[in-house]
Structures are given as C-alpha cells and as structure tokens.
C-alpha cells in the first residue's frame, strides 16, 4: 500500500543541529523519522532546530513525535525549536494543539538561529 516518503537531512551550525524534514509526516512515516531524529539528537549539539518549511503534511502522529522529542531534550537541558511557514496549514495545526506554547516556533531559519 501507499507509504509516505519523507527525507531527513541535517546541517551543523556551531552548537546548533538543524534538521530539515521534506515530505509528509504521518503515521506511516513517523517511525522512520523518529529513529533518525533520536539518532541525531544523541550527539553533543546544544540546540536542535527542526525545519518544517518543506513539510506538506503533518498530523497528530508527527506532532506527538515533536512533543516527545522536546520532552527528551528538556530533560537534558536542551531545547527544541521549530521553523514553520507563517500562516501555513502546519502552523494552524500546531496552534490548535498548543505546540506554540510548548516550544519556540520561528517563521524562518534565520529567526530560529538568532534566538536558538
């Protein structure tokens, strides 16, 4: 059956780890992304920025993963930042579940790096 395809790439900028997701994040792709995210998070980077600008679909399976990762990071005094296109359906979705109150959401990578 149909399985969603999502690409995960990473960039390191000083002490920030930038993870770029590209594709659709749903119940069929969330496990792959979870494995990759947790493997990347384990290293020394102090800050983690997840760039969702190129994610065209995000549902509660993906949102739950972001909350879980944010929780794991905060236990290690690290913080999760998100980059989301302003006014996008994804931003609306995140607002509905209160993600914007749980971790910083930025409108651009530059804004995330400036604050992160």
């Amino acid at each position: 059956m149909t399985s969603s395809v999502i690409h995960v790439s990473e960039e390191r900028l000083d002490e920030t780890l930038m993870i770029v997701l590209d594709g659709e994040l749903d119940a069929s792709s969330v496990n792959d992304v979870a494995v990759k995210l947790r493997r990347l998070v384990e290293n020394q980077a102090k800050r983690l920025v997840v760039d969702l600008e190129r994610v065209s679909y995000l549902d509660s399976a993906g949102i739950n993963l972001l909350f879980a990762v944010a929780g794991e990071l905060s236990a290690r005094q690290q913080q999760l930042h998100l980059v989301v296109v302003e006014g996008s359906p994804i931003e609306r979705t995140l607002r509905i579940v209160g993600a914007e109150r749980a971790f910083p959401v930025h409108a651009s990578r530059e804004a995330a790096l400036a604050e992160a």
Partner: protein, 540 residues
C-alpha cells in the same frame, strides 16, 4: 578414399540446413554439435571431426565436440589463439591443410596419438567474428583438395550460424529470467488510479532483452512511471537494463526533479564504454493536480486518451537517448491529465514495423488505445502484435495508467493499516479539489479525516483483518465525512498521545462520535468558504 564421390555443395548444404533449422527448436548445444559432426564427417568421408569454440573470457579455443577423437573433449583440450593447428586457423581466419601430421606444428598430442595422418581445418565465422574452429582428419594420408576445403568452409559457415543461434537460444532463458526478475512483481495499489502492464519477450532469440517498465511512489501523492529500452540484446542488454532501472529509481527517490533524474542517469551511463544507448520515458504523475511531467530521452511519445475518448500521440520534442552525450540537457513537458484519462507507454516493438513510417504505427496504436475499454485486453493485444500486424521480432513492454474519475459521493473501504493513510489522504485531496475546496480547507479536512482514520487503525482488533470505511459527500457546500470502524471509540492515552481529537475539533465545524453497527462512526462537517460566500451574496 580419394576415389569417393563428393555430393554437390548444394546437396551437402541442404543436408546441413535441415539439421540446423531443426536444431534451433529442440537440440541442446551439445547435441547440435554432435549432429553437425556426424553429417560433416559423413559428407567428406573423414575418420575424425571436431569443434573447438572460442572461450571469450580466456581467449582459448576449447574442444566442445569430437568424433573419432572424443578424448579431446573429455580432457577439455584448450588451444591458445595463434598456436598449433587450430590456433593458427582461428588467428589467421583461413583454412589450413596438413597432409602429413609428422611434419607439422601440432600442439594437441591426442591428434598424433590417435594416428591421424592428414588434417583439414576451417574457421567458424559469424558476421566476420571468429567463434571457433572446425577440423576433420584422416587416419590414412589424404590430400584435401580445393573443392573439399570449400565444401568444409561452406559447412562451417552454416554450422557457425546454427551454433550462434543455439547459444542465443540457450541464453534466452537466462535473459528472460533476468528481465522478469527486474520487472515489478506487483504494481502499486493507489486508490483512484489503475495500473496495468505487460512485458513480452522477443519472438526471435537474438533480440530478447533490454525493455523494462517501472511504477513507484515518490511521496506527496506523486507517482513515477518509467518505460525504457536498452539498445542491444542478450545478457549484456539485460544486465545494463538492470543497472539503468535501479539508478533511475535511486535518483528519483532521492527527490530530484524529473529532468534532473534523467540528467544524472545520462551522466552516469555516458561514461560506459563502448557507448550504450537507452531510450527512456520518465513521467511523474500528480493526480491531485491533474497533471504530469514527462521527460523523454529518445523514447516513443506516450499516448493519452482523454475523457472525451479521443486518443492523442503526445507531441513532445524529445531529448537524446541516455548515454549518447555526456552534456545532454533534458526538458520537462507539463501535460494536463484530467480524471478519466488513460496514459499508454510502449516500447518500439509495440508500434514499429520495418519499412513503414513510425507515425503509421503510432496512429494505429492511438486508435486502439481509444477503442479498447479494458486495459488488460489492451495490453495483451498490443503485446500480441495487434498494432504491428503480428508478434514483433523485438521485446514489447506496455504500461497503462488510468486516472479514474471520482464519484460525486465517495464511499471507500480501507485496511486497518497505517500504510493505508497516505492513499486515503491523496484520494481525499483529489475529491475535495473536485468539489471546489481551497488548499487550506483541503488540508484541514484531510488532517481531521486522517486523525479519525488513524484512531480506527490504532484500535483495530487485529492487524490486517479489520477495515474501516470513509464516506464523503457534499451537502450544498458543506463537506460531510463519515469514518466508521468496527471498534469502540477510544481516545488515545499516554502523555504524548491524544492530540487527534482536539485537532479534529479544531479543524472542523462539528465532530460527532456515534455508535454504528458493530462499531463507531465519526461524522465531521465543514462548510466550504466558496459555498458560504455564495450563500451570503445570494441573501437579500
């Protein structure tokens, strides 16, 4: 012996011809060689006869069949090119006569041990290539004359062709198995789109190999369709096809745009020497946007049958075949593909008739694609040679994609499996777009429906066995979607779960959970903006 009367060359050849033709159908290489030896030794009245074939890997001549000197084969005699009697014949590509073995350079001791006195050998040539040597011998001293030499060479020429055909015939099974192994065992199941495909190996052994088709998902509801033809034949073409197919898949799944995929493919295979060409049509289908992007690397143009039932040959200016020029640039052609359209991709063998303009074949193909309602029957007919007027000498591959029109009222059933969610999402998006929903509305409704479906998947009694249904209809501008499963509604528990229901409520106007027959229904409603504005404007 010298008093023996030789048959005329015509009679001798006819005699050989008879076996070689029969051989193509049934004899193994070993039996064929033995049969040829018997005949030739009989025609020339010699005591011994032998075939040595060139081993292309080592470059040696290897004894493959012998009469009167069977030890040659049993001991696996190998003669290096250019050395001894047989090696000289192959290297010089001309007949060699030895009247007295005692005074000649003979490498193979068996010939002397068996008491052979005189020898005559000729090269086995196919299209100017040496594929081996054939020789005959006499236990008594004998002078092979010009006429006997010519006769043996004629026999050898005929034998060489038979051997080459038998080789290709033997290879055929390998190549066919390889071809079949490289074709998708099953085409992806994508709701709203039907794929049908066929591959038929060439009727002529010498032409089997090189055609392929492929279908795979690229994410975001897009689907890759590939059809291609590696120019060449046999194991070599089959092996290259396997590489091209895999490389194309890899580049496509990496996320490169269609033209980029073909450019990368070309760069990879342009370095292969000697130059091998591959024609490819690479298509990325986007059913949510009713469009496709085509890149044609020297391949036959696709046929599109529109919802109007008219078949058209797509007018595209193609780019060079893959492998032709390292610096070739490839172009994307954006084509609208409305629901109800049928897309047909074929390889040369499906439409090409020697001596006829290609356009004539394409025109017949176009008409047939429009006339035959059943895609399986269409594939079978094309593969059987309905366009070309008989089975093609070439391989034939056919790939058909049909974009099914979506019904006014959507009624679908899905396996309770997370992998079903993507298909549901893409189908729903197509349906919503057809009802005038805007991008943000499509997004919201899709997420909400998906959340209800994910709940059904998560709470299925046993994986694989259960199913859920999704029905959708348009109530005068309000989209109403019902997701029904066979379990009791349960909100997910756990710290980082349970966001599904708030999302559904946040995205839709109303969400009602109702008991249904043996399960639970979630009924969700959202009025489309366009409809809401229409109502306001209509108000006095």
């Amino acid at each position: 012996m010298s008093g023996r009367s030789l048959p005329s060359p015509e009679d001798a050849l006819r005699e050989l011809q008879r076996i070689s033709d029969a051989a193509l159908a049934s004899l193994t290489m070993h039996d064929l060689l033995r049969e040829l030896l018997e005949r030739i030794a009989g025609i020339l009245g010699t005591d011994t006869a032998a075939f040595l074939l060139l081993d292309e890997v080592s470059g040696d001549l290897v004894a493959q069949a012998a009469k009167g000197i069977e030890e040659e084969v049993e001991q696996g005699v190998r003669i290096p090119m250019g050395r001894g009697f047989a090696g000289r014949i192959a290297a010089e590509r001309r007949p060699v006569r030895i009247e007295d073995v005692d005074h000649a350079d003979i490498l193979n001791p068996i010939l002397r041990e068996k008491g052979i006195r005189s020898l005559l050998g000729v090269p086995l040539l196919v299209e100017g290539r040496v594929i081996g040597v054939m020789h005959v011998g006499s236990l008594t001293r004998r002078h092979f004359d010009e006429r006997e030499t010519d006769l043996l060479q004629l026999a050898a020429d005929r034998a060489a062709i038979a051997i080459e055909h038998a080789r290709l015939h033997a290879q055929r099974h390998t190549v066919e198995a390889m071809q079949r192994a490289m074709l998708p065992s099953a085409l992806p199941v994508i709701p709203g789109i039907e794929f049908t495909a066929t591959y038929r190996p060439a009727a002529v052994d010498a032409r089997v190999g090189g055609d392929w088709y492929d279908v795979f998902e690229l994410g975001r509801g897009r689907i890759a369709l590939v059809i291609g033809d590696v120019v060449g034949r046999g194991v070599e073409a089959g092996a290259l096809m396997a590489q091209v197919r895999t490389a194309l898949r890899a580049y496509a799944l990496e996320g490169h745009p269609p033209a980029g995929v073909v450019e990368l493919l070309n760069r990879l295979f342009a370095s292969v020497r000697p130059t091998k060409l591959t024609t490819v049509a690479y298509i990325v289908l986007d059913p949510e946007r009713d469009e496709m992007r085509l890149v044609s690397a020297g391949h036959l143009p696709p046929i599109v049958v529109g919802p109007d039932g008219i078949g058209r040959v797509m007018e595209v200016e193609g780019d060079p075949p893959v492998g032709a020029f390292r610096a070739a640039i490839y172009h994307e052609h954006l084509v609208t593909l409305e629901p109800g359209s049928r897309l047909v991709l074929v390889t040369d063998g499906a439409a090409e008739v020697r001596g006829e303009p290609l356009d004539d074949g394409l025109d017949r193909l176009r008409l047939m694609c429009a006339e035959e309602p059943d895609a399986h029957a269409l594939c079978a007919a094309i593969a059987a040679g309905a366009v070309t007027g008989g089975p093609s000498d070439d391989d034939v591959a056919v790939l058909v994609a049909e974009i099914l029109p979506l019904p006014e009222r959507l009624a679908t059933r899905w396996p309770a499996d997370a992998d079903a969610l993507g298909g549901l999402r893409h189908l729903l998006r197509r349906w919503l777009a057809g009802h005038g929903a805007r991008d943000n509305e499509i997004y919201d409704i899709t997420v909400a429906v998906q959340e209800a479906a994910a709940n059904a998947v998560e709470h299925a009694y046993a994986p694989g066995t259960a199913a859920f249904s999704v029905d959708a209809h348009n109530e005068g501008g309000a989209i109403v979607v019902t997701v029904t499963d066979r379990g009791r509604w349960r909100e997910a528990r756990g710290q980082n779960r349970g966001r599904g229901f708030p999302l559904m409520r946040g995205l839709m106007e109303s969400v009602d959970v109702q008991p249904a027959d043996h399960g639970t229904s979630v009924v969700m409603r959202r009025t489309l903006e366009a409809a809401a504005r229409g109502t306001l404007e209509a108000a006095p």
